[in-house]
Amino acid sequence: MKQFGIFIQKELFHIFRDRRTLLILLGMPIVLVLLFGFAITNEIDNARIAILDQSKGEMSQKITQRLLASGYFLIDENLREVAEIEQHFREGKTKMAIVFPPELQENLRRNLPTQIQLIADATDPNTATTLINYASAIIGRYVQDQGRGQAMPLQIHTEVKMLYNPRLKSVFMFVPGVMTVILMLVSAMMTSIAITREKELGTMEVLLASPLRPAMIIIGKVIPYILLALANTVVILMLGAFVFGMPIKGSLFLLALECLLFVITSLALGILISTRTESQQVAMLISLMMLMLPTILLSGFIFPIESMPLALQVISNIIPAKWFIIILKNVMLKGTGVEFIWKESLILGGMALFFIGASVRNFKIRLE
Amino acid sequence: MVPAITADKLTKKFGDFTAVNQITFEVQKGEIFGFLGANGAGKTTAMRMLNGLSRPTSGQASVAGFDVYRETEKIKKHIGYMSQKFSLYEDLTVRENIQFYGGIYGLPGREIRHQIKELIGGLGMQEYANTLVKAIPLGWKQKLSFSIAIMHRPEIVFLDEPTGGVDPITRRQFWEMIYKAASEGMTIFVTTHYMDESEYCGRVSIMVDGRIAALDTPRALKEQFGASSMNDVFLQLTRPNQHGS
């Protein structure tokens, strides 16, 4: 036990004496959260739209007003004919065009189904989707409001509902995402680097030739990183909650447990990488290419999994981050308990066991 | 005859610390000159100044007739440099290394092709010509890096800790190459803390704390200090308090 204590103490010395890395590890979560929150936002703000109002009635006027009142949209121009739409898009003046059909007023009066056309510039698909979603939601809400006062509900087809994140704040999307990336980074990449550093410096040789058991070497090396990862979690959650008003509806205890589970999974991955590599550089490259990129790209953090090609959707299932993000969103935004996330937790747990098993099999008690 | 290297009160300071303190010496053309000193005595700093890699704080020096303050680019063209650690690219083959260094020193393509043949043949390493350098034995690496360092026929070649760790026969083959180069008029400047290596030099200087503490032929130094080997001379100079105790 004394051996174990000194080992962890030594590890903490390494971490605290390497000021630059420590600063990056502690500062990066803050910078990332603030960056995503204020700068790299995919929220829509004053997007320029064009309107072709063929109906020229009261209804289209009101819907337009609603759209403008939301603050998301700004009218670039009122168009007069269909041909102008394409020209407008080509000139890049506008991101979305809304076409009110001539029969709008008439159909509504006669209670017939009516379509309002939303045309978006999909060269930037993310923005296009968001714009369409926003506009649909606003129109839908308008229709609902109108419906209340009348005997017969209006029929306009916009079936988009924005649950749990009614104001469509993207903070709610990226806080779980950034947290996942940071935990992965601290746990997997930093442990794989810390262990390969001992190999590179030759100190692993001395440790192996000592009575320390390999398991103790590994556990001693990862515990400080668990603490560091959990500290980061707290910082990110606090930033999310106090700076961006992100709610944590579910149990904090459950949240902590799930974070720990993900940290352990990532640590196991980091250990596995370190058993297969001899240099810090290779360990870092592998961590970045095989863990960080998939975590950012395939976990649903930035790109929705539903809109990926089937092959990538299948691959996304083996990315631990995907399951962790689902769990985080459930616990934080929906406030669900363990009964709705046990499946995802089990998958993560299974992955952790698999990686730990593989690391133990691969860990060498000698130099080759 | 103009000496190959002259140094006159050459000094280098880093802040308050004087790494090289007023060293004065001359090296004649075709001489094998040993430049010894303990770790941190100032050898590397002195050699960097002579190589044109570091500007002296004060004093004068010239290498191959060029001034170390003003003509560093000319110096670099007229010297060769070999260090055991950094000379060759491990992930290039023997042939590619020769090609690369030939290119660096601006040898024409025809000359490089000629050198590849000459050099590989001369060293008797045909079987390794297309082998990656990391896969050839250490002894071959050292002989190869020396051959490459003198490929462009420099007037002076600087050898930095050249022969550590090789077997005694290979080591002697290496020294024979150095003797050959010297007999053809090349000046050899060797830094080492491997004392028996210094016995191969024509003259040696021993640096202690930034100064040249002794400079003469190995034989004269041994006589002067009543020592049986250069190792003893060195120990007496660097551990004067324990001498005779």
């Binding site: - | 090789v166 077997d167 026969i169 050959k180």
Partner: protein
């Protein structure tokens, strides 16, 4: 236990991949309290051999016992009872002198105080720097610290892989003086070195080259086994001298040795004959004198016999 040798190695072979035979049927024994030198150039197999004894590598064939324990089966026992110092400086550069020592004492289940007696001579030299980071020590100081860390648990056998490589002569000498004192405390020491001149500081040495042991003996024994007449020759032109001597009919071998050439003869002849031969080749300042063979002469002789 007391009757067994400290180290017993029997027909040990080790290959890396298919082509590299690092050790080839190596056998030797090291007695208790002996200071045993493993002398050979880089690539001779010294590091491989020491790593096998330190239980860090497995041999392909043969057997090795350290303090009576078998290196594969009893590796945990060996690891608790040996001190091992790898060729590269392998302490934590960002920990201080004191922290490194405390760390290694603790992982070996002991304390600095318990075995201070053993390291005192060495540690007093480090004491003034005990708060300094190990990475900021000079080469010689690093080696002393590494030795302290390898000794702190009072090992029965000390395995030192090239402890003096890259260290200046003063530190080298100090290091060997420390080994001498440790020997008096009945610690068995196996030390490897590429410096032939260090052989004479050992009780017995094994000369090793390309995975083969060339000879095992006391240093004096190895030198006296060199039975050819040996002369030291010098003239005004070293380079021509070597070549001219090699063409001389009675020459067995001619190798440069510092300012002289060591000339081993097939049969004893008068130095005057050599003098005349060299004078005929237009050498001047000719000096010829009898020479005492060194470990290097013996090593080269054994190498050429291979």
């Amino acid at each position: 236990m007391a009757t067994t040798q400290a180290i017993q190695v029997e027909s040990l072979s080790k290959r890396y991949g298919k082509n590299v035979q690092a050790l080839n049927q190596v056998s030797f024994e090291v007695g208790r309290g002996e200071l045993f030198g493993l002398i050979g150039p880089d690539g001779a197999g010294k590091t491989t051999l020491i790593r096998i004894l330190a239980t860090l590598l497995l041999a392909n064939e043969g057997q090795a016992l350290v303090n009576g324990w078998e290196v594969r089966r009893d590796y945990r026992k060996i690891r608790s009872h040996i001190g091992y110092m790898p060729g590269r400086f392998s302490l934590y550069q960002d920990l201080s002198v004191e922290e490194n020592l405390h760390f290694f004492a603790t992982i070996f289940g002991t304390t600095i105080e318990e075995n201070y007696e053993l390291i005192r001579d060495i540690y007093v030299q480090l004491e003034p720097f005990r708060k300094r980071k190990a990475g900021k020590l000079s080469g010689g100081m690093k080696q002393k610290l590494a030795l302290c860390c390898a000794l702190i648990h009072k090992p029965v056998v000390l395995l030192l892989d090239e402890p003096t490589t890259g260290v200046d002569p003063v530190s080298r000498q100090e290091f060997w003086e420390m080994l001498k004192r440790l020997k008096e405390k009945e610690i068995t020491i196996l030390v490897s070195t590429p410096y032939m001149d260090e052989a004479s500081l050992c009780d017995r040495v094994a000369l090793i080259q390309k995975g083969n042991i060339l000879s095992i003996d006391k240093p004096a024994g190895i030198v006296s086994a060199f039975d050819k007449p040996l002369l030291a020759v010098r003239t005004n032109d070293m380079y021509r001298l070597i070549h001219d001597l090699r063409e001389f009919e009675s020459t067995h071998s001619a190798f440069p040795f510092g300012e002289y050439v060591h000339l081993a003869l097939r049969n004893a002849i008068w130095p005057e004959a050599i003098h005349a031969y060299l004078a005929g080749k237009e050498h001047t300042d000719i000096e010829i004198k009898p020479a005492q063979a060194t470990i290097e002469d013996a090593f080269m002789e054994l190498m050429t016999q291979e």
